[in-house]
Symmetry: C2
Subunit: 339 residues, 2 copies
């Protein structure tokens, strides 16, 4: 195991957007930014949950404008850099340029694990703008470690200086994580990052496994504030990093207090592992399917878990949430037939 410094990229104000339907107020963004900054995390991500341009009918409107979200974070971060998420197709080059003007210093260009090609222009433009560029390979459990490496190599060739293994659905086991990160470490010259969700209760463990294999940049959010079962919780990760004597820049007590006293009260419902989020991790379905499955389950009187299992078998990826209604209807019909 190396003994390198871990850069924490806090996603409370981006992935955490999902947990409150993107409704953070400017005041909350300002307060949370100040707390994260004061706790010592090196990068603070602030964007709509689905990235630049995400505020829309399809993904839900954010409470504040993109400009207000980003500039509020930038204005309140004394030491930390501010990063933005960009999913090509949702966000555009124009969005990127504006984010840069507003003060974002880091962009994380995110694609499905098999679609790195679509990140080329965005990574190149970000480099031209002088931004730090990170490639973000989502749903990393959905392809083999070897294929994931090939996609990572594309992002590196476009100029990304850090590439992430992104466990969007919290579906990777520790060995799954190790295989992906170690392959990256052997074959890439970039820095390597890991973004975990806690659906299988492995967020912290996978982050540590990733570090042991060579990842030096780890995503986390206070109290795990994020989609589905939540992200790796910053304060829990930092406690374990400290026990392992791995430097990370974050003050444990400050992160614990911010999580407990500020973030938990903001949550609309507790971000935790429950039947549905556990099913997401178990089946490996993208967390954006969760609310849709719950709603459709209620409407058609079927178990949302059965919907998600079926959706996983169909190989659905983010953006295909509309498949859910059809699946729910089919399951409801089958129930009637067998009732």
């Amino acid at each position: 195991m190396s003994n390198e410094y871990v850069t924490i990229n806090d996603v409370t104000l981006r992935d955490g957007m999902h947990a409150i339907r993107h409704q953070y107020t400017k005041e909350q963004i300002a307060e949370v930014t100040r707390l994260i900054d004061a706790s010592g995390a090196d990068i603070i991500e602030a964007t709509h949950g689905d990235g630049l341009g995400g505020s829309s009918i399809q993904f839900g409107f954010s409470k504040e404008t993109e400009k207000d979200i980003i500039t509020t974070a930038v204005d309140n971060a004394k030491n930390a850099k501010v990063s933005v998420l960009l999913l090509p197709g949702i966000g555009t080059i124009d969005h990127l340029k504006r984010a840069n003007e507003w003060g974002a210093q880091v962009v994380r260009v995110a694609t499905h694990c098999t679609e790195a090609d679509v990140s080329e222009q965005h990574i190149k433009t970000a480099n031209e703008l002088g931004m730090e560029t990170v490639g973000f390979l989502m749903m990393a459990h959905r392809t083999s470690p070897e294929n994931l490496l090939n996609e990572a190599k594309k992002m590196a060739s476009y100029g990304a200086t850090t590439i992430y293994v992104v466990d969007s659905a919290g579906a990777l086991t520790m060995d799954d994580t190790r295989r992906r990160i170690s392959l990256f470490k052997e074959n890439l010259d970039t820095e390597i990052g890991f973004h975990g969700h806690n659906n299988l209760s492995l967020g912290v463990a996978n982050s540590i496994a990733a570090y042991e294999e060579g990842a030096t940049r780890i995503d986390a959010s206070l109290a795990g504030m994020g989609a589905g079962a939540g992200n790796t919780a910053t304060e829990q990760l930092v406690a374990v990093l400290n026990k392992l004597e791995i430097a990370n820049g974050v003050d444990l007590y400050k992160s614990m207090d911010a999580a407990e006293n500020v973030i938990k009260p903001i949550m609309e419902r507790p971000v935790q592992i429950d039947s549905l989020s556990l099913t997401l991790g178990y089946t490996g379905v993208y967390s954006s399917f969760l609310l849709f499955a719950e709603r459709a389950g209620k409407e058609y009187g079927v178990d949302p878990r059965d919907i998600l299992v079926e959706i996983a078998n169909m190989g659905a990826v983010g953006g295909q949430e509309d498949w859910i209604i059809g699946v729910a209807q089919d399951l409801a019909k089958k129930q009637k037939v067998y009732a």
Copy 2:
């Protein structure tokens, strides 16, 4: 990695007692036993949280008598064996004989990690009674792997057929767990078990690490119902075991439904990782100190975390909860001096 069957020892009705101040009703014990039994777990533990004889002024009175707790579990378990916990000093040979008469087939004789000597009579008597005997070395983070092995050897010499590494405070990292279990595997002829708590969010991960090193008996509770941040949650563990194709006998959906629909509504407060339970895992203090520290913190106006850090530095073990008042008073005095 071996590919052996994992025996799940469910502790919802024993460690879970702590989470509701030992107040399970007979009806709840009956229902929960039937659900665990139907889910397929092989062993169901039902005893006061602090084991046989635990119902007392010192540890809190259980709602039901020891006889009712045990016989209700025995009467409602069709397939699973019922186990009881016994901490020598709290429980006696007489308690053990009665538990055996009431139908308990397994006894787990628990001592502090450096005090296996006190388990001799109890393990020997249990063997004479024809019970299955398990040695349970608590607070396993508090001594070196080598010392823990020496204590385990004592329990084996008394006749225990399974020996557990018990992470009472949820303070072991994955490497800490591996070192202890692998040393047991190399040097003991007994079966090896692991009991984890989730204070550092490593309950499931440590259980998997323990399995990989040779543990074939794992403790878990539905929804993590247990002391402090809770135990390794059965449904989360089973989801990961299933993904790793490790047979364990438990039906995932039944355990998820029981956790969600029956156990969570019984909880007085959510069993989760919060500032205090994270501090317990971080400092390695026994979870029985938690409520005392909270109370003393309020009474003397000091941060309960500072009390626990101080208690950990003093090397306090279970039973020394009365140290907390003195620590709280000292901290309060220091605050005044520096205020």
